[in-house]
Amino acid sequence: MKIIVFNCGSSSLKYRIISMPDEKEIAGGEAQRIGPKTAEPSRIIHRHGDKTETHLVEMRSHAEAMAEVRKLLSTDSSLTPDAFGHRVVHGGGVFSSAALISDESLDQLEKIKHLAPIHNPPAMKIIHACGKEYPGIPSVAVFDTAFHATIPDYASTYCLPYEISEKLKIRKYGFHGTSHQFVAEEAAKMLGKPFGELNAVSCHLGSGGASLCAIVNGKSVDNTMGYSPLQGLIMSTRCGDLDPALTLNLLQHFIGSTADVERLLNTRSGVLGMSGASADIRDIFSLDKRDCGNQRTSLTAEAYLWRIKKYIGSYMAVVKNLDAIIFTDTIGELIPHVRWAVCSDMEYFGLKIDSEKNEHAESLPVDVSQKDSRVKILVVATNEELAIARRTYSLLAGDKR
């Protein structure tokens, strides 16, 4: 079965054509830097067989990115799929596992799309486009929230009037679950432990979104994102944690326009809002390294790392008998400076990072901790697309049976 997996990040669209059940990748690629202008141009890196091509194209939205990707896939008839797997960020309280797309599930998705306004709507556009362009080929939605269904009530409850939380289904849902679960499974393999016994802190540090997950016995027990993917760490264009009174002040400032406040906090804040220079933290580190930055860029870099470090401390307090801290996704895998900054001076928690190993962590997965580090520091490449293909195949194969 050939499955095309679409993974909509907040500033990227990854796609892979994976043959199942042998898990062989036939083709794939990534549309990068979708949305606000960054220091480097938007591009699609497309792989097919041994060839890798880079196409520089302007992509102001995920719809434009999807159109460009479809052009590339239509050049070869061998890339015609048997099924689609879609990463959908928010499953609300409705979807606690992968779901086959139908009119009913689309209606339900429509009702909860406001919960992840910069993620669910583009993913839904891609689901609709697949239904239209490839009628009769099934689509499966795989939710980021599903892995976090095990977060206990004392960690998922907000201190709001109970009846309001009930009515509006307000609770911590948690996100990046597909990735956190995938890299944790890989880490368990590296450590030779059954996944059900793994205790870890997983750091999914993407170029767009980022979150940390506390994992006890293979189950998610907390995630830095909350009711929506806006809470938690400082992200590319998202503010992360914010005093509730400041959100209220902004609501007053924008004369009650929730759309304006949402746009400011989701798409013009975070690294972009703080630095005023770029939405990509790699650009900020690079400016500072070359002494081309300014006070704003230096502060952005410092605050970005500080927030991660504080949350690592929080989750290390939560997870007893910790086996490993895992770094993944674009920033977590590629930027040694980030791993070094957030793991330094953390001996209290049993973390000792090896600078040499960390600097040369190119072949993944790899352990970059010192020999006597009580807790392993692992860098693991995430593969959300493979995880989505596995769940898509499993659901469809189950249907056929």
């Binding site: 809470q231 914010l242 609501l251 703080m274 500080w306 470090k309 929080s314 939560v318 953390m346």
Partner: protein, 350 residues
Amino acid sequence: MNIISISQNVSRLEFALFDKIGGAPLAEGELKNWMNQEIFKSIPEKITLLCGKTLRMKNRAFSADLICIRAPYGGEDFKSPELLTDKSIKKLRKIEHVAPMHIPALIELINLLKDYFRGTPISLVFETSFFTRLPEREYVYAVDPGLAGGIPLRRFGYHGIFHERAFEFSHDKDKGRSRVISICLEPIPEICAVKNGNPLMVTGGATPLEGLPGETTCGDIDPLIILSLSESLGWGPEEINKTLSRKSGIQGLTGKKMNFAGLFSSSDSNAVLAKNLFLYKILLATGSAIAAMGGVDAIVFSGRYHDLGKEIHTYLLSKLDLPVDNCEVLPDNLLRLTAEAGLLSLLKNK
């Protein structure tokens, strides 16, 4: 020496009379709805009456040697307690718009007391002074100031007087304790990491709404929840603010008016969830504080529910490798700490 210590809150004005530092208050009182015009005018007389009665003096015979006013917000210009001068009022006028609930009321209170207790020095003690030393990486929010319409985007923290004293208290006992976690158990609780006398991390934010949940305050929430409340319930900012600050926290979860002492002794299932949640938030903040300081040497509990510190410490010990013995309780209340800080500023000035 007669020291009047006054604590300014939005709806309550607390005051006490001290005759020496380190002793218990000779008299204590409080005025609710003190901003009501009639009540406001009577503040100096009520204080004089109580103090005079306590000291068995005829009303007018009572005179104060020092008045210390504790205020929740002083912005960045008040870096330590200071004796009132015309310059202090000018500095306060500059930040009126930033804290409209506190500063105008404080200025009026100062003028009232200045007129009544003519010639008596007044010392201003701000909760925020301690947090003027907070590192920028900790106090900044990831929002573009240019797009936020002039709204001050700075974390302060609101129990600076407790945290500063908590560090000194622990450090005085053992100079080796340079990394202290201060857990202030007031109705709006707060945790602060203090290293070498300076705050490195604090749970409170630009306002006391952020951070740990309180008896009626929500604590940390996803910003999008506020927008959902507005869209789904049609509420404006005032209604939402009322809900988040007066109907949330422990009260929101239990459906009852309950203080922290009641919460810790209740077996009601909603209260058990609220207590577990509160303990969990303390654990998260403690981990964060340890990461901020690269370790911990001591923990100090303070505030009106400091008695709960023992149970909380036991809970933390079950989760973390913490110093077992270096756990202290600072029993002093806020009015006494205010009097101490105010007196120090007077002595420094002399």
